[in-house]
């Protein structure tokens, strides 16, 4: 290698910098440059694939860590004090001693940082050394190499089940269609397979890919962290540009699936990959309690300064009162005494050093430790563990546990949060005719009842004795037997999944066809030869084609790390059974169905039983399964074609010309296919009804009727709480397609504004649609959702549901989950313009005010509920109406917002949070909830069916909505009371101890003398009394979990100001002052006029202080476990052992003080014990008496609950029942002023 001049090097570095910063990067293959020096490499400016996530290096650890730590204000305070101690005129201790606390705390923190960094280093090393295959020109093959050797511009081969080492542009796949599948669960937690397509037209992919032939330039954008977005085009030597996007990018960290191998070109490596750019540090949130605590720390600072001022002033006055220099005043080296004012000035700083622990610096460290402990217990709660997904609750933000105990408003998403987000096809409407699928409904109802769960039989064979759902007549049997994929026996789910039968496995996938509809189809199938395609067939074609569902063979099922609920178990069982059933038997069985259309089953075909569908949204899967139930089986999907089996057994291959993917603006998706028989270009569109209805072609009379009928059905569906989708079709002429296609290609290749252009082209095509029909899909409520909502409400929490659904659907679900109660007064707000909105808001507000002021309503608990739709919400959120809306919402027991956008969700949360100054919690499961989750004080993500974006953005991640109950009511309450009490105790502890020193100043001329040995003083805070409060903060249990869950009202204790209020702080401060006075003056009076010396006087003070502080805590501890005993007694023992040993060995080790043999001599004196006993008793008497009298005369609900806790479980349950019944009788007493406004819902029963 040649030596380079420094100038060259600088120039090179600058060029590299520029290359990295540029918006567009040109990348070429490394192969032609293989073996050349580093300076000759074209991609040398881009970082390699080795990653380094460590913060420190071995050499620079200490300075870097110190630098980091001194970003904390508390540490700076410490250091300032230490430095102050080195100033001779003001020092209170020996300078070295003053360094101990800061050193201990800094080194503890540094140790933790070092350990974490070491773990990062190890995982980095492991990752960097993972093997992979890079193409080598020399060897003409892919050679085994390591991840860290991958560079931008290399060709990397990834084989099945291997992890992608860098962001690769997919050039070749072993799959003939150029497709490969990846699983992105490492990145976003989504477990469904995603399809990636090799860039077309770049390389000839048959049969082996030749990287040498790659002679194009890859032009791509600057690295960014958007996992779902990538812009890139490839420029061929002939200047031909081919654009591509995320669909051809294999992301680092993904797993290759279902594909033997694939070859990609490295676009981004190492830290520039999208997954690395997404690796953010955990968020830091500051809890409400901590914010409050900071104001109290400021009070402490004020207190400290005023005490120092008293000291300084006292010293000044004391000196001034002295007529001449007494022998105990030590002059400086010149023999002069400082003037009183100067001495007083110095004394101010000495006092700061002396009383420094008044600022509870160790409190911050302790709080951190306590929170670690609290999080440990939360994540280890077995009740918050979901057996089906095997997920625990995750705490992503580590420092807001106590906020869980102060929640006043809960904002919840509906789909996937309150509901399962497992879609079940319920009914459909085709060409204006409704097919209610009654049999299906009955089956679902039967399955839905938990007690019948055991007897669930899912067999669609025509064997009446085996069917769990009873049908009235015999003639229906053929209807339900035409499935050729369903010889499932009653497969009882093993173990705990019993109650989940209704939610898992067959239910979602199996649909019992409607008899009438089947006849329609068979009729249509019979005349399929005609040119006119029957709309019924079209409807099901649309169902089966218009989606992005990927098909995977059950036998080729990828192995998942974790079973996805119990369904996968079932799937396996099913597979197993299939193998025992020879296909021949099935043929026979199908022949008995009497439907000719099933007879053309080619035995060579893939067994459609083994199909399983991987859908990005559960709706799509439900629809595909529904189509399958009617014989329209989706057999295969590639980017270019869809293979479909018709009821007649024919396999049709539709050429897919384009897929207009779903987006939340259009609220629809379309697939453009070429019909294999008619050769027509057909566009199938599905979407939300309001997004579709306005796009229908000019309606003629008949079609108008159809549209009106369908709309009517849609409304009915919505009232039943079903999710609705409309299906349309459009035949596109060749010319129209040609012209559109050109636009489309241009839009796809664009690098700027690509999204908008692509969307515009989609909108261009989706016009003049003709309506086929609509579907209603049911999304069941999760288990225990109503109970959870009722419990939350009893806990004084207002629950808001924000959903994108239609008002009718939402209201229905609202009743089902007991968000709305039958006797509630429901206010429905829906208006078109702002003027109306304003007047309605004013009227309602007036009425609600009058209602709540009406004396007749004082003792009723009837609630007011508000239902508002997105459009009205927009107006209500406008700045002039905001206050009125908040005022109204404040008076409502629950609020239901429908048709809201993600942005509105977060605006609502923000508005409530800011206007009402309350603690808010948002819970959601999907990407649309992310903004809301981030806007709330606490964001909770539900790891459900819709990927992990919500979980990623959340502070806590749970897997079922019902877990919210225990998380908030139990852990929230515990964490809050524990931490609040711990903090109050900590303030008390420091003040009580430091004041001993302060009182002594009055007897030593305010000279800053300590009567306690410095070391013992430091140990006192650092060791003797530090562990008990931390344990108290982690483990104290004021009320049992059963009690908290049984009586949610107890939660109200923490809301608003909670236990940690201004007054509790000052009461404990006063108590601390009182106790310190007692602890000082009783020994003072006892030793007055005696020959006691300084440290002999201080030793009993220290001991008494320890007893007082420890016993004070034991008054506060509500439940004593073994751990409590060990730690409390251990602390006292530690004090005596350490002090005795120290007093025995330290003859003159600590020059100014001489603790030698002092505790020993004191312990030989009976007076010492008598003094300790009386002082401790007097000091703690008021607090003890206060507790006793308060608990006896006016016990708080918590105390009452604690009393009940002590009873044996059976009596306790009786009490709780009585409590509850008392509550319900009071509900009965409610006056029914207005009837519920909602229509009665027949479906309520089965939800």
């Amino acid at each position: 290698m040649t030596l380079k001049s420094p100038l060259d090097r600088v120039r090179d570095a600058l060029r590299g910098q520029r290359a990295r910063e540029k918006d567009i990067r040109n990348l070429v293959s490394n192969l032609p440059y293989e073996g050349l020096g580093k300076t000759k490499q074209p991609n040398r400016y881009f970082p390699g694939n080795a990653i380094k996530t460590t913060k420190y290096t071995l050499l620079l650890f200490i300075p870097m860590n110190l630098f980091e730590q001194f970003h904390r204000l508390a540490n700076i305070y410490f250091v300032c004090l230490a430095i102050l101690n080195f100033v001779p005129v003001v020092n209170a201790f020996q300078p070295e001693v003053a360094l101990i606390p800061i050193c201990v705390i800094l080194s503890l923190a540094a140790l933790k940082a070092a350990w974490e960094d070491f773990r990062r280093y190890r995982s980095d090393r492991k990752l960097n050394n993972t093997p992979c295959f890079i193409y080598s020109r020399k060897d003409k093959r892919f050679t085994k190499s390591r991840w860290k050797d991958v560079r931008v511009g290399d060709f990397v081969k990834v084989v099945c089940n291997e992890i992608v080492p860098a962001d690769l542009l997919l050039l070749h796949s072993s799959d003939p269609s150029g497709v490969c599948h990846i699983e992105t669960s490492n990145l976003d937690g989504e477990t469904n397979l995603k399809q990636r397509r090799a860039m077309s037209g770049i390389c000839i992919s048959d049969p082996e890919f030749k990287p040498e032939s790659f002679n194009t330039v890859v032009v791509c954008e600057k690295p960014n962290n958007n996992l779902n977005h990538f812009k890139c085009y490839v420029e061929k030597p002939d200047k031909d540009k081919v654009g591509t996007g995320i669909e051809s990018l294999l992301l680092r960290g993904c797993k290759m699936r279902n594909t033997h191998h694939a070859v990609g070109f490295v676009v981004y490596a190492g830290h520039e990959t999208k997954s690395m750019l997404n690796n953010n540090a955990p968020r830091y949130k500051r809890s409400k309690l901590e914010r409050k605590l900071n104001t109290d720390v400021i009070f402490c600072v004020i207190l400290l300064l005023s005490m120092c001022l008293v000291g300084a002033l006292g010293h000044f006055l004391w000196l001034q009162a002295l007529p001449s220099g007494p022998p105990y005043l030590v002059p400086d080296s010149n023999g002069h005494l400082d003037s009183p004012s100067l001495s007083g000035f110095y004394m101010f700083f000495t006092m700061i050093i002396l009383l420094q622990i008044l600022i509870p610096i160790s409190l911050y460290v302790s709080i951190e430790l306590v929170k670690i402990g609290q999080i440990y217990f939360i994540t280890n709660d077995i009740d918050l563990h979901d057996d089906e997904t095997d997920r625990r609750v995750q705490c992503k933000t580590l420092n807001i546990t106590e906020d869980l105990g102060q929640i006043e408003y809960v904002f919840s998403d509906k789909t996937g949060t309150l509901t399962e987000n497992k879609m079940v096809f319920r009914r459909c409407s085709i060409m204006g005719t409704e097919y209610p699928h009654k049999e299906n409904a009955i089956r679902l109802a039967v399955l839905g009842e938990p007690e019948s769960g055991e007897d669930v039989i899912f067999n669609q064979r025509p064997q009446p004795p085996l069917t769990g759902w009873s049908l009235d007549t015999e003639d229906i049997t053929p209807d339900c037997t035409q499935h050729h994929h369903d010889n499932r026996h009653r497969s009882k789910v093993k173990g705990n999944a019993q109650s989940d039968v209704a939610f898992s496995s067959p239910l979602e996938t199996e649909v019992i066809p409607d008899r009438k509809l089947l006849q329609q189809i068979s009729r249509a199938g019979n005349c399929s030869g005609s040119q006119e395609i029957d709309p019924y067939l079209d409807f099901f074609l649309g169902l089966a084609i218009c989606n992005t569902v990927a098909v995977s063979m059950a036998t080729a099922q990828r192995q998942r790390r974790k079973p996805k609920r119990s369904r996968s178990i079932l799937e396996d069982l099913v597979v197993e059974e299939d193998h025992f059933n020879p296909p021949v038997k099935k043929e026979d069985f199908e022949d008995t169905t009497g439907l000719q259309m099933c007879s053309l089953h080619a035995p060579s075909d893939t067994n459609s039983d083994n199909l399983s569908y991987e859908a990005e949204s559960p709706d799509e899967a439900a629809l595909v399964y529904a189509a399958k139930a009617y014989g329209f089986t989706l057999l295969n999907r590639t980017p270019d074609s869809v293979t479909l089996r018709l009821p007649s057994g024919e396999d049709l291959v539709f050429e897919v010309l384009d897929t207009l993917t779903f987006d939340s603006n259009r609220k629809r998706m379309s697939v453009l296919v070429r019909h294999p028989i008619t050769r027509e270009y057909v566009l199938y569109t599905k979407g939300a009804d309001y997004a579709i209805m306005e796009l229908l072609e000019h309606l003629s009379g008949k079609q108008k009727n159809i549209a009106a009928g369908t709309q009517h059905h849609l409304d009915c569906y919505a009232k039943d709480g079903l999710r609705t989708l409309c299906f349309t079709k459009k035949v596109v002429s060749y010319k129209e397609y040609e012209s559109w296609s050109v636009n489309r290609q241009r839009a796809l290749a664009a690098i700027d504004h690509r999204e908008e252009l692509v969307m515009d082209t989609a909108v261009q095509l989706e016009t003049g649609l003709s309506l086929l029909g609509a579907t209603g899909i049911e999304d069941r409520l999760q288990e225990s959702v109503p109970d959870t909502i009722v419990a939350l409400r009893e806990a004084g929490i207002q629950v808001w549901v924000l959903t994108g659904d239609k008002p009718e659907t939402a209201v229905n679900i609202g009743y089902a989950c007991r968000l709305l109660e039958e006797e509630d007064l429901v206010i429905n707000m829906s208006c078109k313009n702002k003027l109306v909105c304003t007047s309605i808001l004013d009227c309602t507000l007036e009425e609600v005010r009058r209602y709540s002021e009406d004396p007749r309503n004082v003792d009723t608990t009837q609630g007011i509920s508000l239902v508002i739709d997105g459009c009205t919400l927009t107006m209500a959120l406008s700045s002039d109406l905001q206050d009125r809306f908040v005022d109204l919402a404040k008076r409502c027991r629950s609020v239901l917002c429908c048709r809201v956008t993600p942005l509105q969700k977060s605006r609502v949360v923000k508005m409530v949070r800011e206007k009402l100054k309350v603690m808010t919690l948002a819970v959601g499961d999907g990407a649309n909830d992310v903004s809301m989750i981030q806007a709330a004080d606490i964001g909770i993500g539900l790891s459900g069916q819709e990927g992990m974006q919500a979980v990623m953005a959340s502070d806590f991640a749970i897997s079922r909505f019902k877990h919210l109950n225990k998380l908030i009511l139990v852990h929230g309450h515990w964490c809050y009371t524990r931490l609040a009490n711990m903090i109050i105790y900590f303030f008390y502890k420091n003040v009580a101890y430091v004041n001993l020193l302060f009182w002594y100043q009055f007897f030593c001329g305010f000279s800053g003398t300590t009567m306690i040995d410095y070391w013992l003083m430091i140990f006192f805070n650092l060791f003797f009394t530090s562990v008990p409060p931390i344990m108290f903060g982690i483990m104290d249990r004021d009320v049992s979990a059963e009690m908290l869950l049984g009586v949610p009202e107890l939660y109200r204790m923490g809301q608003g100001a909670g236990e940690y209020t201004f007054s509790t702080f000052w009461v404990s401060m006063l108590d601390a002052f009182y106790q310190s006075l007692v602890c000082f003056f009783i020994p003072y009076l006892a030793y007055q006029d005696s020959d006691i010396d300084v440290f002999t006087f201080g030793t009993p003070l220290n001991t008494i202080s320890l007893f007082t502080i420890i016993l004070h805590l034991s008054i506060e501890i509500k439940a004593w476990t073994v751990v409590h005993w060990v730690i409390m007694l251990g602390s006292v023992a530690l004090y005596f052992i350490v002090t005795l040993v120290y007093s025995a060995i330290c003859v003159s080790c600590n020059p100014p003080s001489n603790p030698y043999w002092i505790l020993q001599s004191q312990m030989a004196d009976p007076m010492f014990y008598l003094l300790c006993i009386i002082t401790t008793v007097v000091a703690l008497m008021p607090r003890y008496m206060f507790h006793v009298l308060k608990n006896s005369i006016a016990p708080s609900p918590l105390v009452q609950a604690r009393h009940l806790d002590r009873l044996d479980p059976s009596t306790r349950d009786e009490w709780m029942k009585e409590w509850k019944s008392f509550r319900s009788t009071s509900q009965v007493k409610r006056s029914r002023l207005s009837p519920p406004t909602s229509p009665t819902m027949e479906t309520l029963a089965d939800i």
Partner: protein, 350 residues
């Protein structure tokens, strides 16, 4: 095919096992269900405790009070602040080697052993700078620190040329009044023997303070000067007993143990020898005081205290009274609690 089916089953089992992998341990500790004692602070429960504590305190209080009352204490101020006092003449700082006399009468026998204290008021031995002003290494006999005392002693570390031993303000300000007690027996004054042995802490005398291992002691002090205020160097503190010199002089040790409070007494001698082992008989006594220590300049007071001691040390009524008061309060509180209990019973206590 059948084989594959078996595989499926295996897979199922593996999956079920895996399912447990993430499940938290179901132990009493992790589930926060450790058996716990939950004390309830309510009136009914604490009454017996209060009664017992109250009675015990009253008992202790009575014992302490009686013990304290039985201790005889006699204090006499000899500052010479009042003009009619014999020591008035000595209170003038100009007066050197002044001796004054204090006459007093003991009406009934002063039970022995009698402890003879000197007391100072408004004297802040606990002043921070003062407390620091000594050199522990020097006092433990380290000869290096004889030559160069620690700078904590400043400005009493050198006289400008030679190092001061013992250095520092505490040593420098050592109390130097001396007392002789006479009893009038048959018209003549009989010297009451005062025992100066073992008045300091045993550990101070034997462990902490050490003279340098040089005999004679005087040689160790070569090249040093005595503290400014001292009339004699340290090795001549007690001319009568050569073992009571240097840093292990009992009076020096007593002085070096700094008093905790500004009004303090320090043990001067014990009266426990000969005829006086059982105490001071009734009669007239006179105390000859070599008045050296100036206190009036800082409004201090000097006194002598005769006291006998019990197991609880010197006389102090406070603790006994405190126990009595708190004990009675506990009893009173338990009565209050009884009323509260009768009025506000808990449901399950019925």
């Amino acid at each position: 095919m059948g084989k594959e089916g078996g595989c499926g089953q295996n897979k199922t089992m593996v999956k079920q096992e895996q399912e447990l992998a993430n499940r938290p341990d179901n132990t009493a500790f992790t589930q926060q269900r450790l058996p716990a004692w939950q004390p309830m602070l309510s009136a009914g429960i604490v009454i017996p405790g209060f009664v017992i504590i109250g009675l015990a305190f009253i008992g202790i209080g009575v014992a302490l009070f009686i013990t304290s009352k039985n201790i005889q204490v006699m204090e006499m101020d000899y500052t010479g602040f009042e003009p009619d006092s014999d020591c008035f003449k000595c209170s003038n700082p100009e007066e050197k080697n002044c001796v004054c006399q204090l006459d007093f009468n003991i009406s009934s026998r002063f039970e022995g052993p009698v402890f003879f204290y000197y007391g100072l008021s408004n004297y802040f031995q606990n002043y921070r700078r003062y407390g620091v002003s000594k050199d522990d290494a020097q006092l433990s006999g380290d000869l290096d620190n004889f030559k160069s005392p620690s700078d904590t002693c400043s400005p009493y570390d050198t006289d400008g040329i030679k190092p001061i031993v013992p250095c520092g303000s505490i040593a420098n300000s050592m109390f130097n009044d001396t007392f002789l007690l006479y009893r009038e027996v048959n018209g003549t004054n009989e010297l009451v023997p005062l025992d100066g042995k073992g008045i300091a802490w045993w550990t101070d005398y034997n462990v902490k303070y050490r003279n340098p291992n040089v005999t004679p002691l005087k040689e160790a002090f070569e090249g040093t000067v005595k503290p400014l205020f001292w009339p004699r160097p340290a090795y001549e503190l007690d001319t009568s007993d050569p073992n009571n010199n240097g840093f292990i002089n009992q009076d020096f040790l007593v002085w070096m143990r700094r008093a905790a409070l500004p009004d303090f007494r320090k043990l001067y001698r014990r009266i426990a020898q000969g005829d006086y082992a059982r105490g001071l008989p009734a009669g007239n006594y006179s105390l000859k005081i070599a008045y050296n220590y100036p206190v009036l300049s800082f409004q201090g007071r000097k006194k002598v205290v005769f006291s006998n001691v019990s197991w609880m040390g010197g006389r102090n009524d406070f603790l006994g009274i405190a126990y009595l008061v708190i004990g009675s309060m506990c009893v009173f509180m338990s009565i209050v609690m009884l009323i509260v209990y009768a009025k506000f019973k808990f449901p399950e206590e019925d």
